[in-house]
Structures are given as structure tokens and as C-alpha cells.
């Protein structure tokens, strides 16, 4: 394809190498699952230590599922090459009785966690997933769940380039940057922007280039008149309907305004005719051009435990306000959302400020006597970023207690930033406001169209539990 031809919407990620096993929910197969995971992980480029970490998570997840998943159908284990990581995904059906066990905080007896008397059988999923870099639970059908684990490949760290760049206009876009150019640009960005404003892979540039090659990230490069890198923006899919971007990164402050504009415009043109409905900032830089995005508010993030110095736990460190920017890529047709009246003042203010037409429908908590005993929360945990995101999957009488148990269990893992996403298309979710408030969650952002309708992001206020 000639260089001046911009690709249309990216073709679906080409088929990735994967290994699929269907296993009876029987612990007799534990060695099979673990051996397959270890072997596949090595084929997918993990070193021995990484492969063992994945194998261990697979073993613990599988043992756990054998105890709790429905038995009518086999469990499907998919081991896949993610490019820069290897992943294991368990797909299974859960019978009514066992749903409770899918709560990451289930069965975790905090008092006995560090004691040796911890009965293995009672370890929760949160602990079972401790050897992973990321793990989580998702639901893909009324009764179909996925439990997944990811372990990253190792990549060498490289020295950021902080020598000043003196570039020459005019600038142009490189829509399909080669790996070498991406590595160079990542190091230039690492040399000019603090760690929290860039993907961690920028300081492991081969990892970043691989992420682009494998479609985990998409990237656009700005080049100066002499073909030198002048700037970078990158983005990734977040669910089916949204993209989240990092940047723009501009390498010569004298050309920053033009660079940022070129990259932002190029990025939006690239995502405009795809299935993405909206773009959210993940790590916006101060170079983001004014007037191109709407400010949704901000989150206070504390980062990974390793970022907190002097032995301070993440919950004590001060935290950085990270603004969230948004852009709708379509024309909004208005919508109705469900929320507890306690949330109305916050929602009205935000919707009015953002000029979104929404009918706010009042949702009250369901009468306890009509609820199942146990609720279910999905947890996704990014240990490297020190971030946990909770999503309510099923309502239950124990919702408030379950939520509190999750917060405690996640904090006990050293993860300080805890967000909770409420999908406001579901009355029962919108109705949870009192339980959330009691547990220390405060509404922070509305993400329009980020779920089945809008998502309300609540953040756990550190120090409160």
C-alpha cells in the first residue's frame, strides 16, 4: 500500500496462536491444565519464571472452578499468545449455588491470610490470581463467565532520550510507523514526560513496538521535515465501543502546538469510522489541544505500590489528580438512565454541564426479601498499575457486605486505587448509591456511552472502609 494511503478501519486482529482445551471439572486434570499452560506460555515467549507464574494461576483457578463451577458442561481453557503477554481464559457455566464463590473476595479469611493454617481450599480468587500481572472475571452470557489471567513477557529496559530535539516544520503524519521508529519515539516520550503520563512500555521500547505490532495499541507518529520523530499518540480499544488514548507526546516544545494538533486530528480521523462510539483519555498530557475534548472531571490515583516511596503504603501517599477527557464520535440521540435519587444532584450537574440529554429515572434498592442471598461483583485487577475496577454483576442481600469485603481484600493485596463502575442502564445498579456511600465510594465521573448506556465511575476514598 502506498505510504500516503491511510488505512480504513483496522481489520480485525489477525488470528492469534492459541491452544484450547476442554476439561471436565475434575481435579484429576489439574496437571494437564498446568502443564499445558506452562508449555504454551514458553512457546508464546515467556521465560521459565513467567511460564511458571501462569501455570500456577491456571492450577489455582482450575482447582477453584472444580469446586464451584457447574458440572453440566466442560470448562474451556484457552491459552493464547497476546503478543507481549500470555493469557489463560477459563470459560464456564456457573450454577446458581456457586455464583457466590466467583466473588474475588469470597472465602478470604483476612485474619488467617498470613498464618500458615490458611486452608488452601478456602483461598479466594484474589489470592489464587496473585502470581498474575492482570486477572479478572467477566460475564459473556446470562450464565457464562470467563476467568482470565495474564502474565507479561520480559523486555529489557532502555535509557530514555532526554536530549533536546530541534525539529523543523512542516510536520506530517506517519500512519503506519515501523518498529524502529516506534522504539525511538517511545524513548523520546519517556525522556520528556513523567512515568504516570505514559504507558510503562515506553521505557521498554521493544515491548511498546510489539504491542503495536500485535494490535494491543495503535499508534500514529508525527515526523518533521527531515523525517525525524516529532510526536506520538497511541490508543487501544476498551470494550467494543470505546477507545482510550495516551498522549499526545510532543518532542520539540517549540513545535508542540502543531504536533499535538496533527496527532489528535489524525487519531480522531482513524477512529472515526470504526465501531468506537467514543474516545476517553487514559493518560492525557498537557499538550492535548484545547477544545477537542470535553473534561469529564478527574480521578485521584495513587499508582502502584512500588511508586510509593519510603515504605509508605499506597493508601497514605497523596495521590495525583488525573483529569478525564472525553469525546463522542457520533451524534447523541439522548437516553434514559436509572439512578438512586441520592445521585440525581451529581448526575444533573454533570449532564447539564456536558449538554447530554438524559431522562433520569429513579431507582430504589430492591426489597431485601425479594433478593437472592448473595451478590456478585466482577473484579479486574492490574497489579502493575495498582488499580482494581469492580463491576456489580448480580444483586443480593449481602451486596454492601460483599463490597466491603472486596475493598478490604483488595487493599490487603497492596492495591490502593479502587474504582467501581455502575452501568446506569440497569436499575438495580443505579439503585446501589446508599450501599456505595456507606462503603466509602464517592461518584466521580460519568462516562457517556461507555457501557450499555452511561457508566458512573465511583472511587473509593482512601482511609475510609
Amino acid at each position: 500500500m502506498p505510504a500516503n494511503v491511510s488505512p480504513a478501519s483496522p481489520l480485525s486482529a489477525s488470528a492469534r496462536p492459541q491452544l484450547v482445551l476442554e476439561l471436565q471439572a475434575d481435579t484429576a486434570y489439574l496437571p494437564v491444565a498446568a502443564a499445558a499452560a506452562e508449555n504454551a506460555a514458553q512457546v508464546y515467549g515467556l521465560d521459565r519464571g513467567g511460564a511458571l507464574r501462569l501455570a500456577l494461576a491456571v492450577e489455582e483457578f482450575f482447582a477453584y472452578l472444580c469446586r464451584h463451577a457447574g458440572r453440566e458442561e466442560p470448562i474451556r481453557l484457552t491459552l493464547a499468545h497476546g503478543g507481549t503477554f500470555a493469557s489463560a481464559d477459563f470459560r464456564f457455566r456457573a450454577g446458581e449455588v456457586s455464583l457466590r464463590a466467583l466473588n474475588f473476595a469470597a472465602s478470604v479469611d483476612l485474619s488467617s491470610m498470613d498464618a500458615d493454617n490458611g486452608d488452601e481450599a478456602e483461598l479466594g480468587l484474589l489470592v489464587a490470581g496473585r502470581t498474575t500481572d492482570r486477572c479478572g472475571l467477566t460475564r459473556s452470557g446470562p450464565d457464562v463467565f470467563h476467568l482470565n489471567a495474564e502474565v507479561d513477557r520480559e523486555y529489557p529496559e532502555a535509557e530514555p532520550i532526554s536530549t533536546p530535539q530541534h525539529l523543523a516544520a512542516p510536520l506530517r503524519l506517519e500512519p503506519q510507523p515501523a518498529a524502529g521508529a516506534l522504539r525511538h519515539a517511545a524513548l523520546l516520550a519517556a525522556g520528556r514526560y513523567p512515568a504516570r503520563l505514559r504507558p510503562s512500555s515506553f521505557s521498554r521500547p521493544e515491548r511498546f513496538a510489539d504491542m503495536v505490532a500485535w494490535g494491543q495499541y495503535q499508534a500514529l507518529l508525527a515526523l518533521d521535515a527531515a523525517g525525524r520523530p516529532a510526536g506520538l499518540i497511541c490508543w487501544r480499544a476498551s470494550g467494543r465501543r470505546a477507545v482510550v488514548f495516551s498522549g499526545p507526546y510532543c518532542f520539540d516544545p517549540a513545535l508542540a502546538v502543531e504536533t499535538a494538533r496533527l496527532l489528535t486530528e489524525g487519531f480522531l480521523s482513524r477512529v472515526a469510522r470504526t465501531e468506537a462510539l467514543c474516545a476517553f483519555s487514559e493518560r492525557p498530557t498537557a499538550d492535548l489541544p484545547r477544545g477537542w475534548f470535553e473534561n469529564l472531571g478527574s480521578l485521584t490515583l495513587h499508582g502502584a505500590p512500588a511508586d510509593a516511596e519510603n515504605g509508605e503504603g499506597p493508601e497514605q501517599s497523596e495521590g495525583v489528580d488525573q483529569p478525564a477527557y472525553y469525546r463522542h464520535l457520533r451524534e447523541d440521540a439522548g437516553a434514559a438512565i436509572w439512578a438512586h435519587p441520592d445521585l440525581f444532584p451529581f448526575l444533573r450537574r454533570e449532564y447539564d454541564r456536558l449538554a447530554f440529554s438524559r431522562d433520569l429515572l429513579p431507582a430504589e434498592p430492591t426489597d431485601h426479601t425479594r433478593l437472592a442471598a448473595h451478590s456478585l461483583l466482577a473484579t479486574s485487577l492490574d497489579r502493575l498499575r495498582g488499580l482494581a475496577v469492580l463491576r456489580p454483576l448480580l444483586d443480593g442481600q449481602d451486596f454492601a457486605a460483599n463490597l466491603r469485603a472486596h475493598v478490604e481484600a483488595i487493599q490487603a493485596q497492596g492495591v490502593g486505587d479502587i474504582l467501581l463502575h455502575l452501568d446506569l442502564s440497569e436499575p438495580w445498579q443505579g439503585a446501589q448509591a446508599p450501599a456505595l456511600a456507606a462503603c466509602g465510594f464517592a461518584p466521580r465521573l460519568v462516562l457517556p456511552h461507555a457501557g450499555a448506556s452511561d457508566i458512573l465511575v465511583c472511587q473509593h476514598v482512601p482511609g475510609h472502609s
Binding site: M1, A8, P10, L11, R273, W292, H328, E331, A355, F356
Partner: protein
């Protein structure tokens, strides 16, 4: 386990995003809490259909709805034949020109083939190619217009169709006779050239190339025209393709018969019969709207692109989707241009002055709101 539905779907369909048309006006009006809505989003002709077409529509008798229409638009093709002095077999009528876009692509492309068009133009050429599994090569506009050299440079042995939107929606640029002639010589009959003339009746310029003439010298040229724009019959969905007889014969093989309804066919034929006054009145309305809007954009310090056609594109100091929502709250519907790969631009249809004044008043308020509001 039986396969998930998604596993039955080809990759290029799974990756493709269905177009979401806007909701019906009453729904939007309720959502946005307004009691009127100026439709400035679809380049419709606000004057309504020409008098003769209007008469045909009014005279339509409900019992005729029970009877199939002419399957190949027999009378309408005769009317087109008379109008353009060509054999009626050289016209193929579709349910809007959108339908004939699909027919042409189906007729000429097979697995591995590609089509070439611009990145910032009417989206349907690109969409139909992609959801049919063909590569769409999108050439960046140059100076707001289609770039003939770059399109030629992108051709290869698998290029089957080049789509040229003349004048272009949404920039209103067009190739003059010389540019078009050079381009067609460059293509040298190696691929089909579709000239989409959806807005040609809005151009009043000697230098504008008439595709109906070009196809006589260049047998690989086919022309699309529509009754949706100048003729104000968008709701009845009538458009057509015209080309050399053998070319149209191939396209007809892939085309659904009976796709054009019993009311649309005679209304379109009647619209052609006496259109001179209607065209003049429409052009006057468009010119007056421009005389009002363009100086107002200048005064606001806004960049705009205004060429041929009943629309103008203006750059906004905030996200076009935010401007859209703010304008909707004031009863004005425009088109956001992010989907045309012009982020932070809106396109406004040019209609009668009262609606244009309402638009300007609302637009002024919105600009004020977004400049004083948070970043």
C-alpha cells in the same frame, strides 16, 4: 458446545460497524426538550419537490399500494432516456443511489480486489466495499479536493473501481473538465470510474464536466445521480446509474428488481419533466443562505469550506459532537463531521433564510457557552 453466532460471521463483518441513522424527529425533540427542529443535517432540499412531482404524490391512490411497481422502472427510464438522449437500457434505477453503489461493487469486485476513493468523502463507497470484504484505499484530500495523481498512483492490477464524488460531499470541491479528462486518460480504461453527481444540479459553471457526456468518450465511466437532493424526493428513495449499455448490463445482474416503489417512480419522472424553475429557485435559496452565513462565519472568525452543493462546512472551536448537542437543545440539527474524518467541523444544509437565522442565533449562543465553559 455449538458455535457462538459470532463464529459464523466473517471477520470483515465482525469488524464492521453498522451505520446508526438518527432517531425520528419527534423522539429527538422529546429527548432534547424542544418543540421544533430545523433539519440541517442531511442536505435535504427544504423547498420540497417540484410542482409536477408534488401533484403526482397528491394524486396517488391508496389501492395502488396493493400492486407491485414496475420491476425495472420502465416509465422512469423512458423519461430519463428522453431527458439525456440515451437508450433507456443504459439506465438502472435503484432505491436511492446508495443501492446502486452496492450493485456496482458487487458487479465488478471479487476477493482480493480493491476500490479507490478519498478519505474524506461520502462514506457509503468505503462502507460497502469493506462489509463486502474488499479493500477500500482512501486517498487523502488535497487542498479540500480529490487528488487525481495520488488516486492514480494507488491503482494496481486489483483495482476495479475508482469513486469520484463530483462535487464532493462535504467539501463542495469539484474537478473541472481538464482535470477530469486528464484523470480518465490516466486510468486508461483499466478500471471502472464512478462519478457520483449527487449534487451536480447545484453547479452552474461552464467548467463543470458532465458525466453524461464523458461516458460517450470513456466507456469505463458510469455516473450516479439521485432524486434525493435537488429534486427533494429523499423520502421516496430514487437514484440511478447510467453508463455504456454493456457496463449497465453487468451491473443489472447484481441488482435487486422491484426495489423502487410505485410512488417514487412516477414522482421522479414528473420531477424531471419541468425542473428548470425548481432548480433556479433552489439555487437562489442556496445563494441567499450563503450570503447570510459566510459573512457571519467571517465575523465569528471561523474557518469554513463552501463550494458547490446545498451545504457548508464550518470549523468549530469545540468538539463537533458537543456543538451538536448544544444546538439540538436549541432546536437545530446539524451533521457532525468527525465521521467524515473532519473532527471539530460541522456541516450545515443551506435552506430558507428564517431557518438560517435561527441557526445563526443558536450557533452564536453555543459558541459563547463553549468558550466560557470548562475546557
Amino acid at each position: 458446545m455449538c458455535p457462538a453466532i459470532a463464529e459464523l460471521v466473517p471477520d470483515y463483518i465482525r469488524a464492521f460497524e453498522a451505520y446508526t441513522p438518527s432517531r425520528p424527529d419527534p423522539v429527538l425533540m422529546r429527548q432534547y426538550g424542544v418543540d421544533h427542529l430545523h433539519r440541517l443535517n442531511n442536505n435535504e432540499n427544504a423547498l420540497g419537490p417540484p410542482a409536477d412531482a408534488r401533484a403526482v404524490i397528491e394524486a396517488f391512490e391508496p389501492p395502488r399500494s396493493a400492486i407491485y411497481p414496475s420491476g425495472d422502472c420502465y416509465a422512469l427510464r423512458l423519461a430519463l432516456s428522453e431527458r439525456f438522449g440515451k437508450d433507456p437500457e443504459r439506465f438502472l434505477v435503484g432505491n436511492g443511489s446508495c443501492e446502486v453503489i452496492a450493485s456496482v461493487i458487487k458487479a465488478f469486485c471479487e476477493k482480493g480486489d480493491n476500490i479507490i476513493t478519498a478519505d474524506k468523502t461520502f462514506a457509503v463507497y468505503e462502507w460497502v466495499a469493506e462489509f463486502s470484504g474488499f479493500e477500500a484505499r482512501l486517498i487523502p484530500l488535497s487542498n479540500w479536493g480529490f487528488d487525481p495523481e495520488a488516486m492514480l498512483a494507488a491503482m494496481d492490477a486489483r483495482t476495479k473501481i475508482l469513486f469520484v464524488c463530483n462535487p464532493n460531499n462535504p467539501t463542495g470541491t469539484w474537478w473541472d473538465k481538464g482535470t477530469m479528462e486528464r484523470f480518465l486518460r490516466g486510468v486508461a480504461g483499466r478500471a471502472i470510474v464512478v462519478i457520483d453527481e449527487a449534487y451536480c444540479e447545484y453547479v452552474d459553471d461552464e467548467a463543470f464536466p458532465n458525466g453524461m457526456e464523458l461516458m460517450e468518450r470513456h466507456p469505463n465511466v458510469v455516473v450516479f445521480r439521485t432524486f434525493s437532493k435537488m429534486y427533494a424526493l429523499a423520502g421516496l428513495r430514487v437514484g440511478y446509474v447510467c453508463g455504456q449499455r454493456d457496463v449497465v448490463d453487468y451491473i443489472r445482474r447484481t441488482h435487486i428488481v422491484y426495489s423502487v416503489n410505485s410512488l417514487g417512480q412516477p414522482a421522479a419522472a414528473a420531477a424531471l419533466a419541468d425542473d428548470a424553475g425548481h432548480i433556479l429557485a433552489t439555487r437562489r435559496m442556496v445563494a441567499e443562505a450563503k450570503e447570510l452565513l459566510l459573512p457571519a462565519f467571517d465575523a465569528l472568525g471561523l474557518k469554513y469550506v463552501s463550494g458547490a452543493g446545498n451545504f457548508v462546512m464550518v470549523e468549530t472551536p469545540a468538539s463537533d459532537s458537543l456543538i451538536y448537542r448544544q444546538l439540538m437543545r436549541r432546536g437545530v440539527m446539524v451533521r457532525t463531521m468527525t465521521g467524515f474524518r473532519f473532527p471539530n467541523w460541522i456541516r450545515v444544509s443551506l435552506v430558507q433564510l428564517p431557518a438560517m437565522r435561527d441557526f445563526l442565533a443558536a450557533f452564536g449562543e453555543v459558541l459563547q457557552a463553549v468558550s466560557t465553559g470548562p475546557a
